[in-house]
Chain length 263, copies 2
């Protein structure tokens, strides 16, 4: 379900969870018919193997149609309508072998060049929106009979009626937007996942501190000693031997205690 | 210095840090002369290789003298006067290659059968006592030119003049009474030690939550699933294959956030 964007969106829609409008695209005729229904701007994506913006082409004008279709290289694709989102959030749900569910607090995510750059908790969202996000996480985890941590990426759309959530992607695993749990929760998403798949009791997902996670991408990881010198920050490098542009080399969690006493 | 109780107490006394009164004991005559000066109750200890109360004999009455001396098995010993302490605390100091020092918050320690059972932070001590403990830690670390984490165990004596600290032992390493830092600080004593010995910047030792560490001794570790089911607790087992009475099998950290919102 999570490996194929068409299956994923069909699954979400079947659960009554709003997604971007979408159409399957195998031919240029499919693409043109889809655009006539969905309108522009839209995004054409390969159904499989895409991540961090790879395998995606935006279609803003008629001139973009041919190049976008060519960019799919003949792979099965999906056309998605553009979601005018105000911000991006995600929900990190853990489900145990016994079906019990716990949910971490909802992070707000900021991308740069299609790559996650920051996750911040708490997110600047209404309490009802956080509750709705948790419900989506629980619905998806249960419908998939998932065991372990699962993330659902959500767009937040603001309108006159208030905030509305549009599901974007399912990641059936620990997720980059949950790395802050290492520093701001007693039990991280990683331990939570291990407890779940081992049939052990899930932990209390309580978050003790406000936190910002910054992904260290490429040269961001060039000077670890400088990063370690930052007060209130915890550095996690992944041990990758070579720095490359756009490569996730590690992350840094910045703890922002709600009421920090003077040093 | 830390391996020989006589060298240790001589070193501390030389720094102007109060210790229990002590005398070197190699012969029964030394022991009797020492008792005449120090008084009873007193404790006879082997100078080296003792831990968790091993190699110690309390002398409360004259009848205890012979058996206590015999218990040393001819090993060099030290006679220590009894300290009428109200509670035990410790100070966890980290010192970098550059001589910079940071100190974790002071835990209060509770022993059972001579083995550490609980460390709780914050300790129920006066602010001036915590400051004095930090100063002792810094003085000891600097005098030893120590690099890494070092613990000093302290007795707290209450009197009409207020609280007073009496140094007991130096442990030039990460220490059992600092295991709570894994859960209540952004950077644990273990990472702090590694930063120090690697010449990397020391971290902010800020503690985000109140915490209790309980040592799991022997059968305490018999049922990990029960321990994992406790909300607000984090379990650390050491992977020892055999449970034995008195053996430290792991510990559990219980986080007690100062202002926890309702679930």
């Amino acid at each position: 379900v999570a490996q194929d964007r068409l299956a994923e969106k069909t699954f979400l829609a079947g659960l009554g969870i709003e997604t971007a409008p979408f159409r399957a695209v195998d031919t240029l005729a499919d693409l043109e018919a889809g655009l006539a229904e969905i309108g522009r701007p839209a995004v054409l994506k390969t159904r499989r193997f895409g991540y961090d913006g790879k395998g995606q082409a935006k279609i803003a004008s008629p001139d973009d149609i041919g190049p976008a279709f060519a960019a799919m290289n003949g792979a099965p694709a999906i056309l998605e309508g553009w979601v005018p989102f105000a911000r991006e959030i995600s929900v990190l749900t853990a489900r145990g072998l016994d079906g019990r569910i716990v949910t971490f607090d909802v992070p707000e995510n900021e991308h740069r060049d299609h790559i996650l750059k920051y996750s911040r908790v708490p997110a600047a969202i209404e309490a009802a929106t956080a509750t709705a996000a948790r419900a989506i996480g629980a619905t998806v985890a249960t419908a998939l009979d998932h065991v372990g941590v699962i993330a659902v990426e959500l767009f937040l759309v603001e309108s006159a009626e208030g905030e509305r959530l549009v599901a974007n992607e399912i990641a059936p695993r620990v997720h980059n937007s949950g790395h802050w749990t290492e520093s701001a929760c007693l039990v991280s998403q990683f331990e939570m996942h291990m407890r779940a798949v081992a049939g052990l009791p899930l932990a209390d997902p309580y978050r003790h501190s406000d936190v910002e996670m910054e992904n260290l991408i490429g040269d961001d990881a060039r000077d670890p000693a400088r990063l370690l010198a930052e007060d209130g920050a915890s550095l996690h490098l992944y041990g990758k031997t070579e720095i490359r542009p756009g490569r996730k080399m590690g992350h840094i969690n910045r703890l922002q205690p709600r009421a920090r006493p003077p040093a």
